[in-house]
Symmetry: C2
Subunit: 138 residues, 2 copies
DNA sequence: AATGTATATCCGTATAAGCGAATATAAACA
DNA sequence: TGTTTATATTCGCTTATACGGATATACATT
């Protein structure tokens, strides 16, 4: 049976997906809002380092609750910041490069490298990739 | 008598002013958060058009409640996005250019010009300046 | 079909953000 | 000093955001 629609969880993400390509004041604020959260910036930084990452990679690297990571990824997807596709049981996420246009990419890439949390994520990414991963087979 | 400190209104702005110049992950998110609100983007756009504007200018151009405008300006000031100084009774606000580094300035300037609300603000700015203003004497 | 694994979503709860009306503060001036 | 004008802040309230634990869903494998 279909669950009833829950307004609260709807607003937990973005009110409506920004699927159309017409940029408005609200879509622009939505893009900045998706960048205004430390965990989401960490995710974006990690996705900048690789073509794509799987949810299980991110959960392990960020060392955060799976539901937390998944929720932030949904938020980013609804804001158009990332693309997602399924490969078997695994969901892969990749940056949607175009929606990063409103940010100074060079600035944030070089600035974020100095942040302790970001350096730690970077190190964990490298370490994580040393171990064989089922989600990276294809 | 000094009023008691109110936590709720503290969080209505930014928890602590970002006065020091050491950029952290939280200061970066704070900058993006200050851009993630339509009224604040409109204010920033207007301040991009002029060296500085007075609160009374903004209230009239934006056609918003004075407390709303003032609160958003406080938010921007605490996030380090704008500078403020007093001239007589009037408070003048100007963009702090350096804190716009994390954004793609050219992109948002050209993109925002296409937004209806921004065009309206732009027109009201021109109209507003045709009338003599006491706050613009100095 | 039954079970296991990966991920998304729900639920309850806590905190943050935003608004308008009202009030406080600060300077200007009569 | 009292009054006016400009601005900041408070208050009460509503809505949005975020989190962890639990549950639902989707695919894979036996």
């Amino acid at each position: 049976m279909k669950k009833s629609f829950r307004i609260k969880d709807c607003s937990d993400f973005v009110k409506k997906g920004l699927t159309d390509n017409s940029m408005t004041l609200d879509t622009l604020t939505q893009i900045y809002k998706s960048l205004s959260e430390p965990i989401r910036l960490r995710i974006i930084h990690l996705l900048m380092q690789r073509d794509s990452l799987c949810v299980c990679d991110l959960v392990e690297i960020l060392q955060l609750n799976q539901s937390t990571v998944s929720r932030h990824l949904s938020y980013l997807k609804n804001a158009g910041m990332v693309q997602a596709w399924r490969e078997g049981t695994w969901m892969h996420y990749a940056l949607n490069q175009a929606t990063l246009d409103p940010v100074n990419r060079e600035f944030i890439e070089s600035t974020m490298q100095d942040f302790a949390e970001i350096q730690q994520d970077q190190n964990r990414l490298i370490e994580h990739e040393k171990a064989p991963r089922k989600c990276a087979l294809s």
